[in-house]
Amino acid sequence: MALERCDVEKLAHLARLGLNDAQIGSSTASLNAVLDMINAMQAVNTDGIAPLANPLEASQRLRPDTVTESNHRDDYQALAPAVENGLYLVPKVID
């Protein structure tokens, strides 16, 4: 399965990436190269092998349920382009 330009346009839209025409072209080519490699890997016999979720032979460490963070809102909001009443402001979104 090869990706078409329109697939890449759609993916770029879903990820909110503003790609120009040339970038869409080059992204299509490089993503297709990745897919070619995946296609080649399909030839490997994986019968009886469990899907790999993570290459590390370890399991997730857990954290005790204790509050360790304190309020640093002012510091964080100093970096934000727009804030009001403690809220981060973003361009209007209507669902």
Partner: protein, 481 residues
């Protein structure tokens, strides 16, 4: 055409942890905006999630309670979508290997029958923040305090066949998560919310019709109304020659209708993949066995015990076991008065209507279980009648003390001295000599109503304190003389 409905529910239960699922930020409700949003919750580059062990424990407790398969490993995945209240650009959730696998829950229906509903899975995920669309000079305000709050998404099999069943199932899950102390169940604060998947098909057809999903319904009443509305809308649409589109809809309680939110086709392209920031989560078998021993008596077990031990109907038993607090209250009352039927009647009758009227939870009841049990004892030993008991109950609700104090202070002790009752009855009959004559010459079928008149007069004369059974018996004797 005859239609049948297929409903499945996705319930989001907010887990009652102190901190978020992947960070040490507090989850306390109602804090000032963004004061509980740390660098991890804000998705700052370079931060990494660390899983909260309490969220894992709570999910396992739920899995054990619904008899589900809990695999040795579960895996977190990224669900990608773009929305400003989701700072990472993806929600950390679970896809192929959820923590809780196939299980089931038995629910009691209104007709007293029991239905077993399959639970497909339950998985851990993080909640998003909140968007505030009030006017901030044409901008949207974002509060990320809720971002990263742990949720357990509980997915049922599409096995519910009408809105009432869906509500019964949602209530049973609500009861269960509160029994387990893993969710506070506060629907107004969004701790327990429901997505309803609804489809219709001609009766007898085995394949499923196209479904729509009603998002974020936050009360049981709205679950019922939105599903009924959606069933009607789909049937009318199909009968008019139209086709149901798979989409997400929102329920508007003011207009009692659902409307389309967005085309699911595009939004559904979530491009899940395993989250590289989180390793597979190992659930040791001995931990599960240890948790199993910590399970409380579950609602179904309690209901069955109430039916067997107290001879209650399935309906009464399921109402009384609807919450742990209610069940505990009932058991204290029953233990004191040693009469399950009487305790059931009072808890489900007078007490429930008092709580409803005052809009109180049973844990805030102005009448304690000890006081109610004590009062029922006084009914049983004939100190007061059922009618006087209602007065005593009101006085207890008003904080005038326990039943014995109120009976003493107000002189409500029932008169059981038959001599005194007879003397009182003689006076009543003498004052109503004409009616007595009429009674004596009337035929049997008219006497019932007339007899009631004398009972009423006698009870009034005694200010309700005469023992009603004795009044009945003695009055009968006197009139038949």
């Amino acid at each position: 055409m005859q239609w049948e409905t297929v409903i499945g529910l996705e319930i989001h239960a907010q887990l009652a942890t102190n901190t978020k699922i992947f960070s040490g930020s507090s989850t306390t409700f109602g804090a000032e905006p963004n004061t509980q949003a740390s660098l991890i919750d804000l998705a700052m580059p370079g931060t990494l999630p660390v899983l909260n062990e309490e969220a894992v424990r709570m999910a396992c407790m739920f899995g054990l309670a619904v008899d589900a398969h809990i695999a040795e490993h579960n895996i977190f995945a990224r669900k990608n979508y773009f929305y400003p209240d989701l700072p990472k650009g993806y929600q950390t959730s679970q896809m192929d290997d959820p923590i809780v696998g196939l299980g089931h829950l038995d629910i009691a229906l209104e007709d007293g029958s029991i239905k077993r509903v399959g639970i497909t899975r339950a998985h851990l995920e993080e909640d998003a923040g909140k968007s505030l669309h009030e006017d901030f000079s044409g901008m949207t305000g974002i509060d990320l305090n809720r971002a990263g709050t742990p949720l357990l998404e509980i997915v049922s099999e599409p096995e519910l066949s009408n809105a009432k069943e869906a509500v019964a199932y949602a209530k049973a899950i609500h009861t269960l998560v509160r029994y387990l102390n893993i969710c506070d169940g506060n629907m107004a604060e969004g701790s327990f919310r429901c997505d309803c998947n609804v489809s219709v098909r001609p009766k007898g057809q085995t394949t499923l019709g196209t479904r729509t999903e009603i998002k974020n319904v936050n009360s049981f009443r709205f679950i019922e109304r939105s599903i009924n509305h959606e069933i009607q809308r789909q049937i009318e649409l199909i009968e008019d020659g139209g086709k149901v589109t798979q989409e997400t809809r929102l329920y508007d309680p003011n207009k009692d209708e659902t409307r389309s939110m967005r085309s699911k086709e595009e939004a559904n392209d979530y491009r899940y993949f395993p989250c590289p920031d989180l390793l597979p989560v190992h659930i040791p078998r001995d931990m599960l066995e240890n948790l199993r021993t910590q399970l409380p008596e579950l609602p179904t077990q309690k209901r069955e015990r109430f039916e067997a031990a107290f001879g209650l109907s399935t309906y009464d038993a399921s109402v009384l076991s609807a919450s742990r607090e209610m069940a505990d209250y009932f058991e204290v009352v029953e233990k004191i008065c040693q009469d399950a039927k009487l305790a059931t009647n009072w808890v489900m009758g007078e007490l429930s209507s008092l709580l409803n009227k005052e809009n109180l939870d049973i844990s805030q009841s102005p009448v304690s279980a000890e006081h109610l049990g004590g009062m029922l004892l006084r009914i049983k030993d004939n100190t007061i009648s059922g009618k006087i008991a209602k007065m005593v109950f009101e006085a207890m609700a008003a904080g005038e003390g326990d039943a014995d104090q109120i009976i003493e202070q107000r002189g409500l002790k029932q008169v059981t001295d038959s001599g005194a009752i007879e003397a009182m009855l003689d006076e009543v009959l003498a004052a109503n000599a004409e009616q007595v004559e009429q009674y004596r010459v009337s035929d049997e079928n008219k006497r019932g109503k007339m007899f009631g008149f004398f009972v009423g007069q006698a009870m009034r004369a005694s200010k309700g304190k005469a023992n009603p059974q004795q009044v009945n018996e003695l009055l009968k004797q006197k009139l038949d003389q």
